[in-house]
Symmetry: D4
Subunit: 150 residues, 8 copies
């Protein structure tokens, strides 16, 4: 049976990825999920820890961001579906960047956010094939897309 590759981009401060995986698993959907590194501290400091410290915060972040890009670029390029969740906190510009990157690669894009962000995300939503509010909607779309039933 074909395996579907789904990349889970965006918010790393809630357990939405685990919820999706749990529900998908209980439905026996043949999905391989990928995601960015979701350990916030490690993600911020991977450059320092692997390649050494920098005096300048910009270069500290630059090295880490590029190392993280190795994983995320490959994951998006290999994905059938890219799901991007915008949470309540932080600027989350990397999530919007991923959505733009996935759009230019003609990936099937699903966006998750609550109503508070609706207006600010209108351009991102306009590029998506579905705009969802919660995990249940996402899982139902995955089930419907893969199984053809609900």
């Amino acid at each position: 049976m074909k395996q579907w590759n789904v990349y889970l981009s965006g918010e790393i401060h809630s357990d939405w990825r685990e919820q999706i995986k749990k529900q998908v698993s209980s439905q026996n959907l043949p999905i391989v999920f990928t995601s960015p590194v979701t350990d916030h501290e490690l993600s911020d400091d991977c450059g320092l820890k692997i390649l050494g410290s920098e005096n300048d915060k910009f270069w500290h972040d630059h090295k880490g961001a590029k190392i993280n890009t190795i994983r995320t670029k490959i994951a998006i390029k290999n994905a059938d579906i890219v799901i991007v969740r915008f949470g309540d906190k932080y600027k989350q510009w990397n999530a919007a960047f991923d959505a733009g990157f996935a759009t230019a690669l003609n990936k099937s894009l699903i966006i998750m956010h609550n109503d508070d962000h609706q207006h600010a995300l209108k351009e991102v939503d306009a590029a998506a094939l579905a705009v969802t509010k919660n995990v249940e909607e996402v899982v139902n779309i995955l089930k419907y897309t893969i199984d053809g039933k609900l």
Copy 2:
């Protein structure tokens, strides 16, 4: 003489585009600038004004955002250089989306923002060929890139 196409994405609440154009003009650089529609109200309501009103705010925004995409997608695809400015206000997710879209199309990307946004923009900065803080730096890069001197 070759004309360079430069797309100016992002913040629409300051006059940074006009400043760039003015300085570029005084330097006689052969650049054709494009930009999104920068009239905020019109940009928000173009869907309503052209295609009629919607009861639901989501669809109101959706129609408008898609119409705006006609202009922005063509501009980015035709651009040699994409400059994205992150200002002080709003979420500006469309700016980050444009940066991701331009990156996947292998455009030369220049980012503008002040130090406050440095950490939050690290993934976007990591995709750029230059990270700048003000109009002077941008214009100097354009001059250096086109004329080969400063």
Copy 3:
């Protein structure tokens, strides 16, 4: 042994897909078939059922059509061969859309229709590598293409 990916687009009101699968199975051809969701009612209402109701029929259909696109776009992009059948009923513009989409992606295209539609489908037929009238012809082409014999 290599598996061939074949997408079956178009008419959903007859059992042509099942006939093809049955004959292909009896010939032991290594084909994985994909298709749009062929439950007409569910396909029309998937947006409503997953993401909630809309007052406006246009947006009702819009949400559903986009969700269906997640499945169909991935299937066509992954297909080696795209088979599009035009039946007797309905406008079937989505079938012609799929044929155009597949052509631009340089997929091997096979069209099925009876003689009544010949003139109206001439531009679509002109993009195809085979124009067929029934399941037997399609299966013979698949057998010949994969096995190299009849």
Copy 4:
């Protein structure tokens, strides 16, 4: 000033193209329009007239459709914007084919049709950046896209 390339696909039995051109001209928009050959009889018989007659109607149409494809494929590939109008008559599968072809090439797509066709065109509409009902809406979108005002 940049010239915009706009391809006008679809219905050839009303004067919608001339109306668009007239209004665009009065607005001084820098657009170069392209279109399929709109002389219905000539379009049907170009194969016969240029390459000689065929006994079989299928090949008669096949030769003509391929010659017409030379013009339409080049026009769509060179277009910034593709506008596809579905009229009241005929199957118009070539119009839907063009919409699919343009979508896979990532063109900015605008669809025109009246309410009668709304449900049947939902998949095509879902790929568009604007769904319009008349010439005025199309021209306003072109004006807004090019001039950034209404």
Copy 5:
């Protein structure tokens, strides 16, 4: 007015290119024609004359063929339409190579040959949008494609 780029590949031992150019000129069609170097001796010896002699005939030909490829690859990549003529003499494998190269780049392909070569060219003809027998047919296709009338 738009200029059309047409590449004339294949036979270099008759004056078919000049005939096409003459007829196209008298019809005022806005076409820029490109072609390989048609001076047979110079084409064979350009490697020798520019880069020096080789003892081995294979490398003599290799150097020349590569230099000729600079011109032909650029011309085909820039062409809207590629016309390939197969004459009566020689193997003309470079002509068939050009047809395959142009096909993979999704160019609009027109083939010219007389009936003697029909069976041997069936695969090449199958990739073409028109198969013609003489200059008049080619010019009529160009006129019809560009002007939309005959």
Copy 6:
């Protein structure tokens, strides 16, 4: 272990494919070979046998050539290496077409022919990464490429 996909294009009137497969098998190289249909009569008549007869030889051949293209286009697109052999008989324009098609798709191309065809094939040879004279050379290249030793 990775499997290598190698397409064997060209001459169908000698047993060169079987020789290559036999030697490759004895070397335990992990190669999956694909090829066009090498039953000459069936290849010529597949259109007739599957889709019915034609009065006109051109269309007889056209239908068959297009059906054969389904197999060959998929095989070349999926190939890592394309090997094209030019034999002593026939025009073999389809072989040169395949070489051009593979070149535009940036495949690794190996050509086989004897010295008699050297000058006529110079443009085709110029696009190849190796020009070989016999099965032994081809197999050694495959072994060296895959195993990194001889």
Copy 7:
């Protein structure tokens, strides 16, 4: 579990590839490594040994370099990550060529070199997602990228 394809380009006179493979193996990372032929003498003489000798050193090298390209081009095209090491000896232009080739194909690029080469490699480093000094750093990046932890 997904397998990652990593191409190891560059220096062939130290055992850095074996060190990476050994450490990766002890970490149980699911990586398939590819590399150029690292037997220097065989790599230089493969053209001669397979296709026969040449009097001219240029053509001797040319034949060999092209045969080596069959392997390296396929490996880079199939790679998720391309690692290029610049050692202390030789010009290593092929390593820099591989880095440029991989960059244009949008591969994730990691560069290895010691401080002596820092200035001379600045353009190559600027295209990389990580610039490393030793095997440990490379392996940590691979581990972090694949496992998401250190």
Copy 8:
């Protein structure tokens, strides 16, 4: 008349670009030349001068190299022909990088170097359509390619 875009990459410590331009000008060839910034000191320090100083030499070079990439990436993407000259001094890895980048974009590549570098450049030469030793050979190739005569 068509203008040809030729990018002159590589050595910046001799006047080879000026010699080519002078000879091309005297031959009236319609070529627009582009090149990297050839002021060595300015090229090294552009990052510092535009974006401010860095304590760390690596980041000093990194900023400058990326700014230079804006110009060089655009120039190579827009070029019909890329000419890369390897001189006597320095490592010139950026030149080899450009050659690899241009090759992956399927540009027509011409290499210039003297005999001393022949063996070390064999992989780069193997990707080129011509390997030249001096300005005269380059200009003759340009003249032959554009004018079709010598």
